[in-house]
């Protein structure tokens, strides 16, 4: 029987890791991720898992150890955040190029400076082109559920790519929330046994991994093959989300439309703010405003065609970005959304709202402001300001 519990987002993810029972975990603690590894290491110490827990001296070493362990044929997990993810950066590209199905939590926190340990999505954005699948989660339940699904997505033979599970630091990682845990046996069955494609330890079948392309000129073709695998993971993410729904009653897709069917005004958002946006939409609906939310779940790969279709009926859209892309036209989610909509026959006005940097709180009133701006644009058909900042003192 599923168990309803009161856990922080981090504890929920540690429980998922316990149930998955990976062969190797190599991780380095960093706020606000620390309690995941702290709790998981107690599971190791108590013998509740069979995991080889590798203590390392940095995140660079953590990801390097994960790469080695995964290439050796193990099921590997790790977790990180912010500066830690930044320190892993060069090794992230190796993990994805070698098509190693490593699963990692990235508890979203901004990058300093000035020093700030609070939530935004700048850290994940730095790794968005690293070839990792990136799935953003709204709450502790989704972070737990996605951890279990990520194993299946990463290890699917059509994919074989590392997966990054992103959820909001402190807001989700440290808040105690109500959620349902699956039975250990159900998770064990759902994730199944890991069957590595290669193993460096298999002396019967020797392999070389990631050899130097100095003279042959195959790198470009190889990288394109890798990109195709990333794009090819879209149906797998959807399939696994559906199958997980059959097991748990909680269904997941590439994105979540909320009251979008008849919406005229739509906000596109990732992470915990999606929940607050839904709350605001419920209130606006009570007042007769046709508002809706599109919550992006799979950010990499980006389901552009599906999202463009889901937004085809609305009159004005605000993409919400919890990160900055200094010098670009708006921030990443906006760029992605506006680009995805370019091929639609009708030109729907899209604006960007940059919000919540460094943990700046996003109360419902801020999102109401976004919707009233959208109402204005829908009415006039004109965009007064493309890039906007929410809750900024200016």
């Amino acid at each position: 029987m599923p168990k309803t519990v009161a856990l922080t987002g981090n504890s929920a993810c540690a429980q998922a890791m316990r149930q998955i029972n990976p062969d190797v975990v190599a991780a380095y603690p960093i706020t606000p991720q620390t309690t995941i590894v702290e709790e998981f290491s107690t599971f190791v110490a108590k013998g509740l898992v069979d995991t080889e827990y590798v203590t390392v001296e940095s995140e660079h070493s953590a990801m390097s150890a994960c790469v080695g362990a995964s290439a050796a044929g193990s099921r590997v997990m790790t977790t990180t955040s912010s500066q830690g993810l930044a320190l892993m950066w060069e090794v992230l590209y190796i993990a994805s190029a070698l098509r190693l199905p490593i699963v990692m939590h990235n508890v979203n926190r901004t990058l300093s400076g000035p020093i700030n340990i609070h939530c935004d999505h700048q850290d994940s954005m730095g790794a968005r082109d690293s070839g990792w699948i990136q799935i953003f989660c709204e709450d502790a339940q989704e972070a737990y559920d996605t951890t279990i699904q990520a194993i299946r997505i990463a290890e699917d033979n059509r994919v074989r790519l590392p997966v990054m599970i992103c959820f909001d630091g402190f807001i989700i990682s440290h808040a105690i929330d109500r959620l349902d845990l699956l039975d250990d046996e159900v998770v064990k069955k759902f994730v199944g046994d890991f069957e590595p494609l290669i193993s460096l330890l298999d002396t019967e079948k020797p392999v070389t991994v990631g050899p130097f392309d100095g003279l042959y000129g195959y790198f470009f073709e190889f990288r394109r093959a890798q990109e195709l695998a990333t794009l090819g993971s879209l149906p797998v993410i959807a399939e696994v989300g559906k199958e997980f729904g059959e097991v748990s009653g909680r269904h997941y897709g590439l994105f979540e439309p909320y009251k979008l069917e008849d919406a005229e005004l739509a906000v596109v958002v990732m992470g915990s703010t999606a929940g607050t946006a839904k709350f605001v939409v419920d209130q606006l609906r009570e007042n007769g405003v046709a508002a809706g939310v599109l919550k992006i779940r799979s950010y990499r790969p980006f389901p552009a065609r599906e999202i463009a279709e889901a937004l085809s009926g609305v009159k004005a859209i605000a993409a919400m970005d919890r990160s900055l892309a200094p010098g670009a036209i708006g921030a990443p989610v906006f760029q992605e959304i506006r680009s995805a909509l370019y091929d639609n026959s009708a030109r729907v006005p899209v604006i960007d709202y940059i919000y919540g940097l460094g943990g700046r709180d996003v109360p419902p009133a801020h999102i109401e402001k976004v919707f009233s701006h959208l109402a204005q644009i829908a009415k006039s058909g004109k965009i007064d300001q493309v890039v906007n900042y929410l809750g900024l003192k200016e």
């Binding site: 290669i198 079948k205 392999v207 070389t208 991994v209 990631g210 000129g217 195959y218």
Partner: protein
């Protein structure tokens, strides 16, 4: 998939094995590095005591040996570094200019 290094230059996107792997062992043999030489080692068999010091030191496994006896030098892979000639205690290997 079968691995044939000779055709890799022609490989298209779909031909690559998953994860940038070479799925067979021992294929370094197929990669001939002999063309890198500017000097060539010459083995003087009558001075050789088959002590195997050159075999130990050769970084490219290019000293050909069978049953504890040196047979000669693998010029397909020898890069002409001269370590064998330097280490040989009997002066049985001499470096000479590569004849192109």
């Amino acid at each position: 998939m079968s691995w044939d290094i000779k055709s890799i230059k022609k490989w298209k996107v779909a031909d690559h094995p998953v994860g940038s792997t070479i799925p067979v062992g021992g294929n370094a043999l197929e990669y001939k590095t002999g063309g890198w030489r500017s000097e060539q080692p010459h083995w003087l068999e009558d001075r050789c005591t088959h002590c195997m010091i050159c075999w130990i030191f050769c970084p490219d496994s290019s000293i050909q040996v069978k049953d504890g006896k040196m047979l000669g030098i693998d010029y397909d892979h020898c890069k002409g570094c001269g370590i064998c000639a330097t280490e040989c205690p009997k002066d049985a290997i001499h470096m000479e200019e590569e004849e192109k």
